[in-house]
C-alpha cells in the first residue's frame, strides 16, 4: 500500500495547488460613466443652462435604467453602474418665455432639446459627449400607431393595422396633400452587424454615403429614405382637421371584428373579435388592389365609403404593412415639390444595381413635420436607430411585442379649453406610451396621460 500512500500525497498536492484561491482581478466591477452634454453649434450661443437636463441611460441586457441631472457645466455622472451596452439620452426643456427671450423667437410652446447615444459599450470608466439638438415641433403629429397587429391564430394578424394623425395646434389644418412614408433602415440586430462589410455607420445603420450614385451632401443626416410613400388626396381644403381632432389611416378599412369577403371571394374571419378593431369608419385607407406592379393581398379590399390615399411609391408592398416587430419608422411631410421626382437610391449593401433593385426615395428632412421611430420590444433584438435625432431622438415600442393588439400612442401634455395638447418633444421614448388594445375611435379612450 506504500504506492497508494505516495500517490495520495501527489494527488493531494496537485489538487491543493489547483484549489488555491485565484486572483479575481478580472472580475466584472462597477464602472463610472461621465456624460458631457452640450448644445449643437446652432444653439450653443443662446446661453441656455444645463442644470435641468435629465440624463437617462438604459442597460441593453437587463433593461435597467439609471437617471440623473446634469450639473451647470453639462456634466452628468453615473458613479457606479454595471458594465455593458447602454443607450443614453438627454432631454432639456426650455420654457417658451426663456426661449423667446434668449433667441428672439416667438414660440408658444416649450422647446425641448434632445440628444442620444445608441448602444455604447461601457466596460471601464468612461467619458462620453452628447449633443443636444432640437427639432421641428409639428402642428400635425402622429398620435397613434398600431403596428403590432393582433394574434396570428385568433386575430387579424397585420391586416388591421392603422395609424392616426392629430392636429396638435390651435388652428384648423388641412390634410390635403399630406404625405406619409415608411422609412427604410437596417433591420439587422445591432449586435449581429458585420461592420467590416464597410457600408454601415458606426451605429450599424446604413451609411448612405456609400450608396451607388450618391452625390448628396450629408446623406445620413439631412435625409431619410422612404420605402413607401403615400399622399392624402384633396383639393387643398377638402379634408379639414380641427384642433384636437384626428384622422385614421387604415391598411384596410374594414370591420376586422366581423367577417368580410376578400378580394379572392373567400371570407376573412377572426376567431376572437375582441383582439382586433373596427376600421370601417377610418378616414382613409391604403388600397393597392388597383396597382399593376404587385400582387395585392386578398385582404386588401376596397371600402368604397372610405377615401383611398394616393400611391406615390410602393416598392412591391402588397398593402400598407407596418413591421409588426417594430422594425419601422413613420414620417409625415408636406411639400410643394413632387416626391416622384426626388432622387432614389438603393441601400448601400446593394452594390450591383439591376432593373430589379429596390430603390428608395430620398426625402429631405426639412419637409418632415413629424417622425416616429419604432423599435423592437426585446432589447437584445434592437436594431440601429433609423431616424436622425432632429426628427425623433428616441424610439418607441409596445411592451408586449408583436401580435399583441397593443398600439403606441402619444401622451397627453395638457388640456386647453377642452382641447387635448399631445406631448411633442421630438423624443418618442418620452412622448409615447401604449394602449393595451389599439383604439381607432378617436374618443377619450384613445388618449393616455
Amino acid at each position: 500500500m506504500k504506492y497508494l500512500s505516495k500517490l495520495m500525497i501527489v494527488a493531494t498536492l496537485v489538487l491543493g495547488l489547483a484549489s488555491c484561491k485565484k486572483d479575481n482581478n478580472d472580475d466584472v466591477k462597477p464602472v463610472s460613466l461621465t456624460l458631457k452634454v452640450a448644445f449643437d453649434a446652432e444653439n450653443a450661443g443662446y446661453g441656455f443652462t444645463y442644470e435641468k437636463t435629465t440624463v437617462k441611460i438604459t442597460n441593453l441586457t437587463t433593461n435597467q435604467t439609471y437617471n440623473t441631472t446634469a450639473a451647470a457645466d453639462g456634466t452628468a455622472t453615473f458613479a457606479s453602474i454595471a458594465p455593458g451596452n447602454y443607450d443614453m439620452s438627454a432631454t432639456l426643456a426650455i420654457t417658451a418665455a426663456d426661449f423667446n427671450a434668449k433667441t428672439g423667437a416667438n414660440v408658444q410652446e416649450d422647446v425641448t432639446y434632445n440628444g442620444t447615444l445608441i448602444r455604447q459599450s461601457i466596460v471601464g470608466n468612461s467619458d462620453l459627449s452628447l449633443t443636444l439638438k432640437t427639432g421641428r415641433v409639428g402642428d400635425f403629429v402622429i398620435k397613434q400607431i398600431y403596428y403590432s397587429g393582433s394574434s396570428a391564430s385568433n386575430g387579424a394578424i397585420f391586416r388591421d393595422q392603422f395609424f392616426e394623425i392629430y392636429n396638435n395646434s390651435n388652428a384648423t389644418l388641412y390634410a390635403d396633400s399630406l404625405y406619409f412614408a415608411q422609412v427604410i433602415g437596417n433591420n439587422a440586430v445591432s449586435t449581429r452587424i458585420d461592420q467590416s462589410q464597410g457600408f454601415f455607420q458606426p451605429s450599424g445603420q446604413y451609411d448612405w454615403a456609400k450608396s451607388v450614385n450618391m452625390t448628396s451632401a450629408n446623406p445620413n443626416t439631412a435625409f431619410i429614405y422612404a420605402k413607401n410613400v403615400f399622399m392624402i388626396p384633396g383639393t387643398g381644403k377638402q379634408y379639414p382637421v380641427e384642433p384636437g381632432k384626428s384622422i385614421i389611416i387604415a391598411a384596410t378599412a374594414q370591420n376586422h371584428q366581423s367577417p368580410f369577403v376578400g378580394a379572392d371571394g373567400k371570407a376573412i374571419t377572426v376567431k376572437d373579435p375582441s383582439l382586433t378593431v373596427d376600421l370601417s369608419k377610418a378616414d382613409f385607407e391604403v388600397y393597392l388592389g388597383d396597382q399593376t406592379n404587385i400582387n395585392p393581398l386578398a385582404s386588401d379590399v376596397n371600402n368604397p365609403s372610405v377615401t383611398n390615399v394616393t400611391v406615390i411609391e410602393n416598392n412591391t408592398n402588397r398593402d400598407l404593412i407596418l413591421d409588426n416587430l417594430g422594425r419601422d419608422g413613420l414620417v409625415i411631410f408636406k411639400t410643394t415639390a413632387d416626391p416622384k421626382t426626388w432622387p432614389k437610391f438603393a441601400t448601400p449593401d446593394d452594390t450591383q444595381l439591376t432593373i430589379n433593385t429596390k430603390v428608395y426615395i430620398q426625402v429631405p428632412n426639412q419637409y418632415i413635420i413629424d417622425g416616429v421611430g419604432l423599435q423592437q420590444t426585446v432589447v437584445a433584438s434592437r436594431m440601429p436607430k433609423r431616424l436622425p435625432d432632429v426628427l425623433d431622438a428616441g424610439e418607441t415600442y409596445v411592451p408586449a411585442g408583436s401580435y399583441s393588439s397593443q398600439s403606441v400612442v402619444r401622451k397627453t401634455s395638457r388640456t386647453v379649453g377642452g382641447r387635448v395638447v399631445l406631448k411633442d418633444t421630438n423624443n418618442s421614448s418620452n412622448d409615447f406610451g401604449f394602449l393595451p388594445k389599439a383604439d381607432p375611435s378617436k374618443a377619450a379612450t384613445s388618449f393616455i396621460n
Binding site: 485565484k22 466584472v28 455593458g84 399583441s404
Partner: protein, 512 residues
C-alpha cells in the same frame, strides 16, 4: 437485406471483433469485477495491467424515470432506449478496447434549459419556462489501443472518444441543438514486471450549433406569453431575453494530461489515475448577411481528477476500495461586460469499499460501504447571485449471488443511502431577484438542501438458455429518491421539489 446485414455487423463490430469463446458474464455480474473492468479501460497502462484479454458484450437497455423530486431544469418524466456494445481483445502486439452506444431518449415536462447535453457548469445557454417534450439522439464511439514497441517494456497507446448528439422539441420555443465531440488521448507506457506506468496527453474538439425557433407567430418575439419567452442565460442569474438573437455557435478545445499507474500481483492490485483537462469554450453569434461570427463569451473549465482502485485477497476475502476525487473550477469571460462575470467550482470525493468472501459455494455474498462528498459553488457577479451547497451521502450495499447447477447465475443487490445537506448558502439581494432566481436557482437550492433517502435495488440473471451457446442475461435496476425533509424554500420560488423520484431500467445483454 444486404444493407441490414451491413448495419447489423457495423453496430455489433466491437462485440463481434472482440468475441471470446469463454463466457464473460461473471465479469459483468460481480460488482468488484465490473468495477475493475470499468477502471482498466481508462488508460493504456491500466488496460495493459489487466489479464482480461478477450471480452465482449452487447446489450439493449430501456430506462424510464419520473417524479417531482427534481430540479427545475430536469424532466418530470423521461425514457430512453439504448443499444451498446463493448469489448476487449488482444491481437499480437495490440491490445484493444472498443465501445459503441446509440441512445434515443425522450423527456417530458422539461423546462428552463435548452442545452443539448445537460451541463450544470455551463453558463451560456438558451432557456424558456415552457415545459415540453424533448427528443435526443446520442451516438458515442470510443476506443483504446495499445501497441508494444520494439523491446520489452515500452508501449504506446491512444484513446479515442467520439460523440454526436442532437436535441430538439416540438413546443415553442423549439431548440435544435447538434453537438459533435472528439477527444484523442495518446499515451506512452512503461511496463516492467508487475507495474505499469503511463503518461498521456489529451486533445479534443467540440462544436455545437444552437438554434431556437417558433412555429406559432403569436409566441415569437413578443412578451405576451411569458412562458414562451426565450432567454439567453449568461451566468448564474445574469440573463437577457434573447429575441432575435436566437442562435449561437459553441466551439471548445480540450487539452489535458494524465498519469496512470498499475500494480498487479497474485493477491493485490492497485490502479491509479491522475488527470487534468482544460476546456476552452468560445461562444459566438452568426452575423447577419455575413460568413463571420462574433465572439460574445468564453468559458474556461479546469478539471483535476485523481482516482484509485485497490483490491486485495486476504484471509478468505476479497477486499476492494475505490476512491475518486474530482475538482473543477471555471470562469467565463463576457465580452459585453468586459471581464469575468461567472465563477464555478465543484468537488466530489467518493469512497466505495466492498468485501466478498472467496468462496466456491453456490451462494455468495458481498457487502459494501460507500460515501460521497459533494460541493458546488456558482457565483454571478453582475446578478449578485452566489450559490454554495455541500452534501454527504453515506450508504451501504448488500448483494447476494446465486449460482445454479445449470450454470445460470442470479444477483440481487440492495444499496440504501441517505443524502445529508451540510453547510449551504444562497445569497441574492432581494433587489437582484429575477426570473432565473425564482424559476431555477431557488428550486435548485431547495433540492440540494433537502435530506434525501435513496435506495437502489437490482436483480440480474444470466443464463445460456436464451441463446444457444451464448451467455445472456437480463437486469432490472431501480433507484428511488424520497425527500425526508424538504430543503430551504424561498418565497417566490415557482417550483418546489417534492414527493419522490423513481428511475427504472431494464436491460438485456449478451456476453461473448
Amino acid at each position: 437485406m444486404k444493407s441490414i446485414k451491413i448495419l447489423f455487423f457495423t453496430l455489433l463490430f466491437p462485440a463481434v471483433v472482440f468475441a471470446q469463446k469463454t463466457t464473460a458474464d461473471s465479469l459483468y455480474l460481480f460488482k468488484q469485477d465490473h468495477t475493475e473492468l470499468n477502471y482498466i479501460i481508462r488508460s493504456g497502462a491500466t488496460l495493459l495491467s489487466s489479464d482480461i484479454n478477450r471480452l465482449s458484450t452487447a446489450g439493449i437497455n430501456y430506462q424510464q424515470a419520473n417524479g417531482h423530486f427534481r430540479t427545475a431544469q430536469q424532466a418530470e418524466k423521461s425514457k430512453a432506449l439504448d443499444f451498446g456494445t463493448s469489448g476487449i481483445t488482444t491481437l499480437g502486439k495490440f491490445k484493444l478496447y472498443g465501445t459503441f452506444n446509440f441512445k434515443r431518449s425522450w423527456q417530458d415536462s422539461l423546462a428552463w434549459t435548452m442545452q443539448g447535453l445537460p451541463n450544470v457548469a455551463e453558463p451560456y445557454y438558451f432557456a424558456a419556462g415552457k415545459a415540453g417534450k424533448y427528443q435526443r439522439l446520442n451516438y458515442t464511439m470510443g476506443g483504446l489501443a495499445t501497441y508494444q514497441l520494439p523491446g520489452e517494456h515500452f508501449y504506446v497507446a491512444s484513446g479515442l472518444d467520439y460523440q454526436y448528439n442532437t436535441a430538439s422539441r416540438s413546443v415553442d420555443p423549439r431548440p435544435s441543438v447538434q453537438t459533435f465531440h472528439l477527444l484523442v488521448s495518446p499515451e506512452l507506457i512503461y511496463k516492467k514486471g508487475r507495474q505499469s506506468i503511463g503518461a498521456g496527453i489529451l486533445w479534443g474538439y467540440e462544436h455545437e450549433k444552437n438554434k431556437v425557433s417558433y412555429k406559432n407567430k403569436d409566441f415569437n418575439k413578443g412578451l405576451s406569453y411569458p412562458d414562451r419567452v426565450n432567454y439567453m442565460m449568461m451566468g448564474y442569474g445574469y440573463h437577457t431575453i434573447s429575441g432575435d438573437v436566437d442562435n449561437m455557435i459553441r466551439r471548445s478545445k480540450y487539452i489535458g494530461a494524465n498519469l496512470n499507474y498499475a500494480y498487479v500481483d497474485s493477491t493485490t492490485t492497485l490502479r491509479t489515475r491522475l488527470a487534468y483537462k482544460k476546456q476552452n469554450e468560445k461562444n459566438s453569434f452568426p452575423l447577419t448577411n455575413s460568413v463571420d461570427n462574433r465572439l460574445f463569451s468564453s468559458f474556461f473549465l479546469h478539471d483535476y481528477a485523481f482516482s484509485f482502485l485497490a483490491s486485495q485477497r486476504h484471509t478468505g476475502f476479497r477486499h476492494q476500495l475505490q476512491g475518486e476525487v474530482d475538482y473543477q473550477r471555471g470562469n467565463d469571460r463576457n465580452i459585453e461586460l468586459g471581464g469575468v462575470n461567472y465563477r464555478y467550482s465543484s468537488y466530489s470525493a467518493v469512497l466505495d469499499y466492498t468485501i466478498q468472501p472467496l468462496s466456491s459455494s453456490s451462494v455468495n455474498f458481498e457487502f459494501g460501504l460507500n460515501a460521497l462528498l459533494y460541493n458546488q459553488q456558482q457565483k454571478d457577479i453582475s446578478a449578485t447571485h452566489t450559490m454554495d451547497f455541500t452534501y454527504v451521502k453515506p450508504g451501504i450495499q448488500a448483494t447476494i449471488y446465486k449460482k445454479y447447477r445449470n450454470a445460470d447465475r442470479l444477483k440481487v443487490s440492495v444499496s440504501p443511502a441517505v443524502r445529508l445537506p451540510l453547510s449551504s448558502s444562497f445569497i441574492v439581494p432581494s433587489a437582484q431577484e429575477n426570473v432565473f432566481t425564482y424559476n431555477i436557482a431557488y428550486p435548485a437550492y431547495t433540492y440540494y438542501t433537502s435530506t434525501v433517502g435513496n435506495i437502489n435495488a437490482s436483480v440480474e440473471y444470466t443464463t445460456s438458455h436464451f441463446i444457444k451457446d451464448v451467455r445472456s442475461g437480463f437486469a432490472i435496476n431501480s433507484n428511488y429518491y424520497k425527500p425526508l425533509t424538504t430543503g430551504t424554500v424561498y418565497t417566490g420560488s415557482t417550483f418546489i421539489p417534492s414527493k419522490s423520484f423513481l428511475d427504472l431500467s431494464f436491460s438485456f445483454n449478451i456476453y461473448f
